[in-house]
């Protein structure tokens, strides 16, 4: 039996303990916890969908229902203009909507983190320029930039992801910059510099781990925004027509006279799905922020 623990083991133990503490703090917020559970369930359903449901129901030539039929025993949420089950479309819509949300958020957070850290770490004119650049984009309405991008790029899921991802990063950048400045003012960073740690070392070993928790919280919130942005772009007619997303289901319902026909079952489910998923993300994000953001702690 060894008695002495290696530094690595110590670090691991410390990390585990801090993780457990974080979890306790997070789980103490019951709304955040509820949000996390519901969100997890949604993601799980989205992932397992091909195993439990048949995609062919989304194919209009295979549709079995009457067009725009109200909810029945067979179709719990009624059918759309082509006789497809709205329930099926709403559930399948989760996949692409979440995919767009996550990918766009990831893209934007990566850009934001890179710019934020660079702006804080290097100082001088690089920092000043990046900061101005960030402020410039922070002020511009991101939705309008996203509309412009999706109007000029070819239509597709990729375009939507790029359009949202490229326009949503400035707030992340600001946040990361502030956090990086805080971390870098701590004495051990100076020590690391003094010990000959290069930029990469300092950023990789000290700044990034310190910034990560806040970035995680931020990502969660950005995903929710991206889901809304995706639906909005679809509504404006610049979305991707090839994939089933909530925005597309809504747009096609509106285009096909679902409201005139009083087909509320075409308009409510995708809308409510958006509200719920965004709400889950918001609750989790707020919970994480409360845990990680020193400014919000009491």
């Amino acid at each position: 039996m060894t008695t002495a623990e290696t530094p690595r083991q110590i670090a691991w133990a410390r990390r585990r303990a801090s993780l457990a503490r974080t979890w306790r703090e997070f789980a103490a917020q019951r709304t955040a916890l509820a949000g996390l559970v519901l969100l997890g369930a949604t993601v799980l359903v989205a992932l397992l969908l091909p195993l439990i449901s048949d995609e062919s129901g989304l194919n209009v030539t295979k549709a079995t229902g009457q067009p725009l039929s109200p909810p029945t025993g067979e179709f719990w949420l009624g059918t759309d203009n082509f006789g497809r089950s709205v329930l099926l479309m709403t559930v399948w819509g989760t996949r692409i909507s979440l995919l767009v949300g996550f990918s766009a958020a990831l893209l934007s957070v990566v850009i934001g983190t890179l710019i934020g850290i660079t702006a804080a770490h290097f100082g001088g004119w690089v920092s000043a320029t990046l900061l101005r650049f960030t402020d410039f984009f922070l002020v511009l309405p991101s939705l309008i930039l996203a509309i412009a991008l999706s109007a000029v790029l070819p239509k597709g899921v990729g375009t939507i992801i790029v359009a949202i991802g490229l326009t949503a990063w400035p707030s992340t950048a600001r946040l990361v910059r502030a956090q990086t400045l805080t971390i870098e003012s701590r004495p051990y960073i100076e020590r690391a510099h003094a010990l000959g740690g290069g930029h990469l070392h300092v950023i990789g070993r000290h700044v990034l781990p310190g910034v990560m928790p806040l970035v995680l919280a931020n990502t969660t919130l950005v995903v929710g925004n991206a889901v809304i942005a995706d639906a909005t772009l679809s509504f404006l007619g610049v979305g991707d027509p090839n994939s089933v997303t909530w925005g597309l289901v809504l747009e096609s319902a509106l285009n096909n006279g679902a409201i005139s026909r009083g087909a509320w079952w075409n308009v409510l489910p995708p809308g409510i799905a958006i509200v719920l998923v965004v709400l889950f993300f918001t609750l989790v994000g707020r919970g994480l922020e409360t845990v990680f953001n020193p400014r919000l702690k009491k």
Partner: protein, 593 residues
């Protein structure tokens, strides 16, 4: 909650708005397309052209019964023996709304302005491009000389404007030319009284109109962002007539109390064009079509896999006819339908066999590959904002998937679509054409000569079809004077086009309109008996609007509206309730000390 409070406060306002006594008989028409100008010289968009038709009189107009040239400002017209000089006898006694008489001089001025001023040619320049001179020897005679024979001389779609108003206007592009003071001086059945851009145009009836005063006192064109909003407004009684309905909206309005629907057989055919390796008129290949469509067997398999009947039933909800030839069914004399022997029947199994035999084997993923190993993947383009195109795209994608062809939908803006189809940058495209009573135009679209030049100019085709047998039949019908024989050639040409599958004619849609029958007894349609109210070339619909006797339009709050309100209330309760619950369920850590 605060929002609700604010809404409730403001909701009191409508009570304060004085409900104007509805003594005057007003016809409210919903507009779902834009207006660019009131100035008839520069008004290009369809709705603006229509305003010109309501307000200005033309030399001749297409009549209500058959859309053939009929007298308007011109009582009669006669061509010279060489058909190069046309003499119009102008009606006397017609007055502009400011009291000045309308004479042949006004007509001559209108055309001469177009000949001398580039801006005046913006809207209708194509009619005068071939004019030599236009003169008015006296107040009732107008003489037009053309450079070469011009076929449309008996139907010049040009509004005649008052010379005394427009002569002082130097710049026709100036904003004030859209002013009611200038564009409002007119001689048609209605006169513009107010124009609020992007909102509405108001007209008053011309009591001195030479055909007799319209039966309504006022006409309003109200702008809506889409037909869905317009349908809503019709239900609420905010408008009286709407058009451009989609089948669902039409079905929603059928049988509603106080609303009558009008489905008129369409003059348009819808098609799915296949890029079979298209060329310009010098036979150089253009565009980037998938070469696999050069194979007749692939085109045949696609034709076997597209069920026009299902498209009519499901996408058009039965409001149209399944397609055959390119001449729509309303022109019965020239319309062609394949016989049972000629027909390519919908049969997915047969389509699969066709592809199998042609050497396209199915892979493990169900997608076929060419003998060279490339996957069969086709792009499908169409109008992004048309629900018809969206529906057809869905079905075509579904069917072709069943025969092992992957379809990538890429519906685009109207502008981009015509860009792609005119340059051959597509595989499959959803398109169509509006046609005329005479089949010449629609047949000419598929001749070799209709293809664009190598500079991508002058093309009018969308099929890029070029076939000696077809061109031969086209020329024969052009010179044939015997009606029955000509009709036969026209049908043979359509059969030839059908058999080569450069395009699949999907259907002929009906024109769908609806109006408040509790306020209006009827409208003059064009053509008659079963024609359209608003989709016409003329003013017959609004001019012939007959108010319902005494009917006081009761707001028909249908069961649907109530249902919506209840459901909406449920949503609000759920949202707010959910919020309350969220708030109650737990406190976030930040709230704790």
């Amino acid at each position: 909650m605060g929002a609700v409070v604010a809404a409730a406060t403001l909701a009191a306002i409508p009570l304060a708005v004085p409900a104007q006594a509805q003594q005057a008989k007003v016809l409210r028409v919903a507009l779902t397309t834009g207006i660019d100008h009131l100035n008839p010289f520069t008004a290009v968009l369809a709705a603006s052209t229509q305003i010109g038709r309501f307000t200005f009189e033309f030399l001749t107009v297409p009549d209500a019964a058959k859309a053939e040239a009929s007298p308007a400002l011109a009582e009669s017209w006669t061509p010279s023996a060489d058909k190069l000089t046309w003499t119009f006898k102008i009606r006397s006694g017609v007055k502009w709304s400011d009291g000045q008489p309308v004479t042949a001089k006004d007509a001559a001025y209108t055309f001469n302005r177009m000949l001398t001023d580039e801006n005046a040619r913006t809207a209708n320049g194509n009619y005068v491009a071939n004019f030599e001179t236009v003169t008015a020897p006296d107040d009732t005679t107008l003489v037009i000389k053309t450079k070469t024979v011009q076929v449309n001389m008996n139907l010049l779609d040009v509004p005649i404007v008052p010379q005394h108003i427009w002569e002082p206007v130097k710049d026709l592009k100036a904003a004030e030319t859209d002013d009611v003071k200038i564009a409002g001086v007119s001689d048609g059945p209605f006169q513009v009284t107010e124009y609020k851009p992007n909102e509405y145009v108001k007209f008053k009836a011309n009591k001195d109109y030479w055909r007799g005063a319209p039966k309504v006192d006022e006409l309003q064109l109200l702008q809506f962002k889409d037909t869905e909003a317009a349908v809503n407004a019709l239900k609420q009684g905010e408008v009286d007539v709407i058009n451009r309905l989609n089948p669902n909206q039409f079905a929603a309005l059928q049988g509603q109390q106080g609303i009558t629907t009008n489905a008129a057989p369409g003059r348009r055919y819808d098609e799915l064009t296949l890029n079979f390796g298209v060329t310009d008129n010098a036979n150089n290949p253009i565009g980037d079509g998938n070469p696999v469509l050069k194979d007749f067997n692939v085109r045949k398999a696609i034709a076997q896999a597209v069920d026009t009947k299902t498209i009519v039933d499901k996408v058009l909800k039965g409001l149209g006819q399944a397609g055959g030839g390119v001449v729509p069914a309303i022109y019965a004399a020239y319309h062609w339908d394949p016989s049972d022997a000629e027909r390519i029947k919908f049969d997915l199994a047969a389509a699969n066999t066709t592809l199998e035999q042609a050497g396209y084997k199915k892979g493990a993923d169900g997608v076929r590959t060419t003998p060279a190993g490339a996957k069969l993947e086709l792009r499908l383009t169409g109008h992004a904002n048309r629900s018809y195109d969206q529906g057809v795209a869905q079905y075509v994608t579904g069917w072709l998937k069943d025969i092992g062809i992957t379809v990538k939908q890429d519906l685009v803006s109207d502008d981009e679509l015509s860009d792609r189809t005119s340059t051959g940058k597509y595989d499959l495209a959803i398109g169509g054409y509006g046609t005329n009573p005479d089949p010449d135009y629609v047949l000419s679209l598929h001749t070799c000569a209709a293809r664009p030049s190598p500079e991508a100019k002058g093309g009018s085709t969308d099929t890029f079809f070029c076939d000696a047998a077809y061109d031969d039949l086209y020329k024969k019908q052009l010179t044939e004077t015997d009606d029955a024989k000509r009709a036969d050639y026209v049908k043979q040409a359509q059969a030839r086009l059908y058999s080569q599958i450069p395009t699949i004619v999907l259907d002929y849609q009906n024109t769908l309109e609806a109006y408040r029958s509790d306020k209006f007894a009827g409208f003059t349609t064009q053509p008659q008996p079963k024609g359209a109210i608003l989709e016409q070339t003329g003013y017959w619909g609004v001019y012939g609007a007959t108010p319902a006797g005494t009917a006081n339009a009761a707001d028909s709050g249908s069961g649907n509206t109530v249902l919506w309100i209840v459901l909406g209330a449920v949503v609000v309760v759920v949202l707010v309730g959910g919020g309350v619950l969220l708030g109650r369920r737990g406190k976030s850590a930040e709230d704790r000390e």
